[in-house]
């Protein structure tokens, strides 16, 4: 395991990956406009509408890219961090196998669903399908890993 980094980076990696995932989600739904509403309330129009500031899309794009980098770096740190012992390496391998299969199945099912829906236009759908599959990988990995190491290891 020459590539493994210290186990203390695991917690940092989990934090970075979670924050990056949330940031990417917020950026993809233009959620930053709500932050503008909070920090610049004077820009609210009399009817309650809030016009997008001139630099909104630049800020949103940078926010999305930084979040994607955080997600990538965090996930890398998690997967390169050392495990306590050989049993945890086995669980990690099983969790990765499980997550890859889950990711593939979700992506395939989502693609088939949209592809065979009559009249549905597939443009702009691939990104969503890839995002859903990637999210499935992270969730399936976390569930399988912690099921194997904590919930399935009874105390004597």
């Amino acid at each position: 395991m020459a590539l493994s980094i210290s186990a203390r980076y695991r917690a940092t990696g989990i934090f970075l990956a979670t924050a990056g995932f949330l940031g990417l989600w917020v950026a993809s739904w233009e959620g930053l406009i709500n932050v503008y509403r909070i920090i610049l309330p004077a820009h609210t129009l009399p009817d309650g509408a809030y016009p997008y500031p001139a630099n909104f899309w630049d800020v949103n794009a940078v926010f999305g890219m930084v979040s994607a980098c955080m997600l990538t770096i965090g996930a890398t740190m998690v997967f390169l961090a050392k495990e306590p012992d050989e049993y945890f390496y086995k669980i990690r391998l099983e969790a990765i196998q499980f997550a890859v299969i889950a990711q593939f199945l979700v992506g395939l099912i989502a693609f088939a669903y949209f592809y065979f829906t009559p009249g549905y236009q597939m443009e702009n759908t691939f990104q969503g399908i890839l995002g859903m599959a990637s999210g499935t990988f992270l969730v399936a990995y976390a569930l399988r890993y912690y099921a194997g190491t904590y919930f399935n290891a009874d105390q004597d």
């Binding site: 306590p84 050989e86 049993y87 945890f88 086995k90 190491t149 904590y150 290891a153 004597d156």
Partner: protein
């Protein structure tokens, strides 16, 4: 001896000891020898080769 105490003696997690006891995990030769030393017995007295369902059974 509890799982946690045994785990500390052989420098692994309690979950690993639990998984070995329940037959979910077959330890490496190094860990098997460490466990055997703790109990003062040969490895083959602690880990028994069986046919089914798991290739290695354990008596701890």
């Amino acid at each position: 001896m509890t799982q946690a105490e045994l785990a500390e003696l052989v420098d692994v997690s309690r979950q690993a000891i639990n998984a070995i006891e329940t037959g979910k995990f077959i330890p490496s030769a190094v860990l098997a020898i460490k466990l055997a030393r703790v109990f003062g017995k040969p490895v083959e007295e602690i880990f028994i080769l069986s046919e089914e369902p798991s290739p290695v059974g354990v008596e701890v």
